[in-house]
Amino acid sequence: MRKLKLEGQYSDDDLVARLRSSKTRHKAYTELLDRYQERIYWQVRRIVGGHEDATDVTQNVWLKVFRGIDGFRHGSTLYSWLYRIAHNEAINHNKKNKKHILATSQLRTTPSQEDGPSSERIEKLIQGALLALPDRQRMVFEARYFDETPYLHLSKELRISVGALKASYHHAVKKVEFYVRKHAE
């Protein structure tokens, strides 16, 4: 499992302040990448599929982050902002390339096995289900299911209580399960 980068020398808020200052920007940018680059890459890769596409999309994500950091408002947390940019970029990339690999119609055409759907098929179904989830539930599901992020860490990152995170995850899992069962038949 991937190593989770825990908070470094600065909090996310301090990091944003350092990103906005021309004196500290370069170092802060390196730290931002150290902290989130890997997670953002895998988040994008799960949506776009291939390594090359994921590399291009993540590069665009980081350039957009850099260009937009002055406009970042503290109404959301840094991670949820990054997550949203990455999600949108990945979805737009698929639309642009007319990739609908996750479309239900295509998922249905995948031959199912007698002893249940293959793990690859379930992974695709999970990705299809994630597209239908609200932002917060999707974000929590991905952090917990794929990255195995501890609730406490996520709570700090998203400024959401552990209880609320658990509830979001519970709802997300139930919805994903419903989707998978419905489309795996």
Binding site: R2, H26, Y29, R144, Y145, E148, K174, V180
Partner: protein, 125 residues
């Protein structure tokens, strides 16, 4: 490891189907060696270029502002100023000038000055 078990137990409690799917999930696809390090270098390089472009734009804007200020100063100093001495000399002459004008001794009157003061206008009414 402890966290991994916690995540799996929690998931099994909510959905055994997804818990099994997670166990069967393919491991992360392998990435080229040092991929993240190299990608970071590429991004930082691009960011550096962007940053340079940004600094260049700021410098250009600053230079344009400076040039505009200099132009304004030059225009202001080169533009002929109103004749202050004449203005001062005439400022105390208003009544006298009017009297002179009425007495048709217009050679003493600076007509423009009277026009400016609305004297002629008021005479027309």
């Amino acid at each position: 490891m402890q966290n991994k078990k916690e995540v799996q137990d929690e998931l099994r409690e909510i959905s055994p189907l997804l818990a099994d799917a997670k166990l069967r999930m393919r491991p992360d696809k392998t990435l080229p060696n040092n991929f993240f390090r190299r990608q970071q270098e590429v991004i930082l390089k691009e960011v550096g270029l962007l940053n340079q472009g940004r600094v260049r734009r700021i410098r250009l804007a600053w230079l344009a502002g400076l040039a505009a200020s200099i132009t304004l100063v030059v225009i202001a100093t080169r533009t002929p100023q109103p004749n202050d001495a004449l203005d001062r000399a005439l400022s105390g002459l208003e009544e006298e000038a009017m009297e002179a004008y009425i007495a048709e001794e217009s050679q003493y009157i600076h007509t423009d000055y009277l026009v400016r003061d609305g004297f002629l206008k008021s005479m027309e009414q």
